[in-house]
C-alpha cells in the first residue's frame, strides 16, 4: 500500500484553466504538506495542515487554495493556471513534532501550455 498517494501523476493543461490535485495518506499522521519543486529541482513548502487546520501558508498566490476535508486528505486547487505554475507538486505527511520523518508522495507533474 502506498503511504502518501497523490493524483493525478501527470497533468497537462492550458493557461487559464482550473485544476485540482488530490492527496491521501494512510500513515495515520496528523500533519500534511504541499511542496513545489521547480525545474531546477528547488523544493519549497507551500502549505501545511495539522488536523485540518492551516498551519503554514507561505507566500503563494491566492490562485492556490488547499483544502483538508480530514486529516488523511489534503487537496490543492489551482485557479487560472499560468505558465510559471509548471512544476512538480509533492504532497507529504508527518506526525507533528520536531524531527519526525516527513514522507513524500511521488509527485504530480503539472505542465501548463
Amino acid at each position: 500500500d502506498t503511504a502518501v498517494s497523490q493524483t493525478p501523476k501527470y497533468l497537462v493543461t492550458q493557461m487559464g484553466n482550473d485544476k485540482s490535485i488530490k492527496c491521501e495518506q494512510n500513515l495515520g499522521h496528523d500533519t500534511m504538506y504541499w511542496y513545489k519543486q521547480d525545474s531546477k529541482k528547488f523544493l519549497k513548502i507551500m502549505f501545511s495542515y495539522n488536523n485540518k487546520e492551516l498551519i503554514i501558508n507561505e507566500t503563494v498566490p491566492n490562485r492556490f487554495s488547499p483544502k483538508s476535508p480530514d486529516k488523511a486528505h489534503l487537496n490543492l486547487h489551482i485557479n487560472s493556471l499560468e505558465l510559471g505554475d509548471s512544476a512538480v507538486y509533492f504532497c507529504a505527511s508527518s506526525q507533528k513534532g520536531a524531527g519526525n520523518t516527513i514522507y513524500f508522495g511521488e509527485g504530480s507533474w503539472l505542465t501548463v501550455v
Binding site: T31, K41, F42, K44, S48, N50, A98, G105, G107
Partner: protein, 112 residues
C-alpha cells in the same frame, strides 16, 4: 532568502569512492538537520538526520558531520555505488510544525 546553502550542484564520483556534499545554514534556531535522497520520478525520502547536540552520525555507508559553531554540516557517502546516483537535499527545520527549509540539491552520479 536562501537559508540553507548546498554545494556542489553536481558531483561525479567513481564507484568505491567517497561522495561529499556540504551545507551551511544561517538560522541558529534550526534544531533538526535531515538529508533526503530523491531518485528520478520519485519523491524525496529521508536518508539520515542529525540534531545539533552531536557532531557525527553514521548509518551504514552514510555519515553526517555537523559543526555547530561554523553552522555547517555535510553528508559523506563511503564506498559510493551506482545505485547511490540520485539528487541529495540537505534540510533544516525547527519547531513542532516542521517548516523544513531545503538546500538546492546535489545531483550525484556514481560511475562504474
Amino acid at each position: 532568502q536562501q537559508q540553507v546553502k548546498q554545494s556542489p550542484q553536481s558531483l561525479i564520483v567513481q564507484k568505491g569512492g567517497i561522495s561529499i556534499i556540504n551545507c551551511a545554514y544561517e538560522n541558529t534556531a534550526f534544531d533538526y538537520f535531515p538529508w533526503y535522497q530523491q531518485f528520478p520520478g520519485k519523491g524525496p525520502a529521508l536518508l539520515i538526520a542529525i540534531r545539533p547536540d552531536v557532531s557525527e552520525k553514521k548509518e551504514g555507508r552514510f555519515t553526517i558531520s555537523f559543526n555547530k559553531s561554523a553552522k555547517q554540516f555535510s553528508l559523506h557517502i563511503m564506498d559510493s555505488q551506482p545505485g547511490d546516483s540520485a539528487t541529495y537535499f540537505c534540510a533544516a527545520s525547527h519547531g513542532g510544525y516542521q517548516k523544513v527549509t531545503f538546500g538546492t540539491g546535489t545531483k550525484l552520479q556514481v560511475i562504474p
